[in-house]
Amino acid sequence: MSEILKSEQSASSVKHLELEATPSPAYLDSDELILNMGPQHPSTHGVLRVILKLDGEKVMGTECVIGYLHRGVEKIAEHRTYAMFNPYVDRMDYVAAVSNGLGYCEAVEKLLNIEAPPRAQHIRVILAELNRLASHMLWLGTHALDIGAITPLFYTFRDREEILKIFEKYCGARLTTHAFRIGGCLYETYEGFEDECRNFVKFVRPKIDEYETLLTTNRIWVERTKGVGYISGDDCKAMGVTGPVLRASGVKWDIRKAQPYSGYQNFDFDIPVGTNGDTYDRYLVRIAEMRQSLRIIEQAVEKLPEGPVMAKVPKVVKPAVGEVYHGIESPKGELGYFIVSDGSTQPYRIRVRPPSFVNLQALDMMVRGALVADVVAVIGTIDIVLGEVDR
């Protein structure tokens, strides 16, 4: 199966589908069928519309229509001060709001040439890793649900709740957290924060084993995911795909290791890589990543230094003329912010490089030649959030 896919899926075969608005009579004679999937289809994880070109059950090609959730976040930034724009970034990838905020704050800090104090960096790492767990848990639950396994959803959401409780106690919101400020963190940790994190790690380790009991050897799961949605490492690189999808194809690239930020160089963790580049491997990589995140949280809590949580930041953030790019490893891949400053209090331009948007491009490569039911599995396995795709 994967051999056929390989030959059909070289980068050159990715071309824009010429879809006609109204099929011509000649077109109707052919066996091919154009089918709309979404934008309200539950398994498209939001408002994604996929136009499928089908030959029977076989997918001949796809085209993604996006923009249903476009809110113009990048444009809004041009009319807000640097501090004011901070809450908006939470609303891009709303299941990983902490990572979004971390990337934005660090990018502005880079522009201002300041660095968050060590304690703030540790708190940031703890929260960002908790957020990675939360994001992967949500992904696992919904992805399994798409393929037909309903039970993991309840367990992952139950355990994610514990993370959201920590967020709520730390910064007062569960989803759109606005946890960090430019220059560090606004909030000191609350009483019992360290213990709660430690207990959480202890609590969730066996739970991840439970998810594996439910899925890893389950024959239905294996049948539905092994060999489905294959993509090679080279194709991933050609498309700019990052995150677990890239790593499952055997490319060992993680920005936390390659270009450490926020003190990730001080922690000991591995980058799980897959070999086959299929849906099953992406599942295994994410599960392994969850375990690594727990390791990082443990170390960060142990090493949590004393000190201030906020660097000295001018009251009015007014960076010098210049531009900066800063990328972090969000749960879904490389999340980058490119900020152009014209020396005023408002950014001249902010461009976000969202991992979901770039990874979604690989959908066509992954599903060509597969069956319709696999499209659902592949959309799930890329782990997209439409808020981030459309911004």
Binding site: R80, A83, M84, F85, N86, P87, Y88, R91, T151, Y155, R158, E161, K165, E168, K169, Y170, C171, G172, A173, T176, H178, L186, Y187, Y190, E210, T213, L214, L215, T217, N218, R219, I220
Partner: protein, 153 residues
Amino acid sequence: MTMKKLLRKVLLLDLLQGLSLTFRYQDPKEIYTEQYPLQRPEVAERYRGAPRLNVNPDTNETLCIACDLCALACPEHLIVVTSERNEKTRRKELTTFTYDLSRCMFCGLCEDACPTDALELTQDFELANYTREGAIWDRQTLEQGPQPTVYKK
């Protein structure tokens, strides 16, 4: 295929493993669902919910000094503060304060900006309303806070 693998497959061990896990969670102890509205969740102390304009508990005077900092800090520009200069004390005094909840994203920037802790986001989270106008709170509502119906068993 080895004998062990074959046996596992024939005996449906992979599926039974999962099923046994599910059955372990049948214990009533494991019930996780909250019975809202009878059972109201306790939100954290730092929770950012409904806004409140604090008054001095002794004198019942507002703590707000009408400095307008909250309105300036808000990314959505949804707070409108008007004030009047008191000729006797030569100080600004708050006259009206409107807060458009329908546009608020509860980011907390206004709360951070307030120099006197007058504006505060509280633990009230039930903000549903029948009209759009009802989402625009005036000074009186802000000082009283929302009055949601509380259901009891």
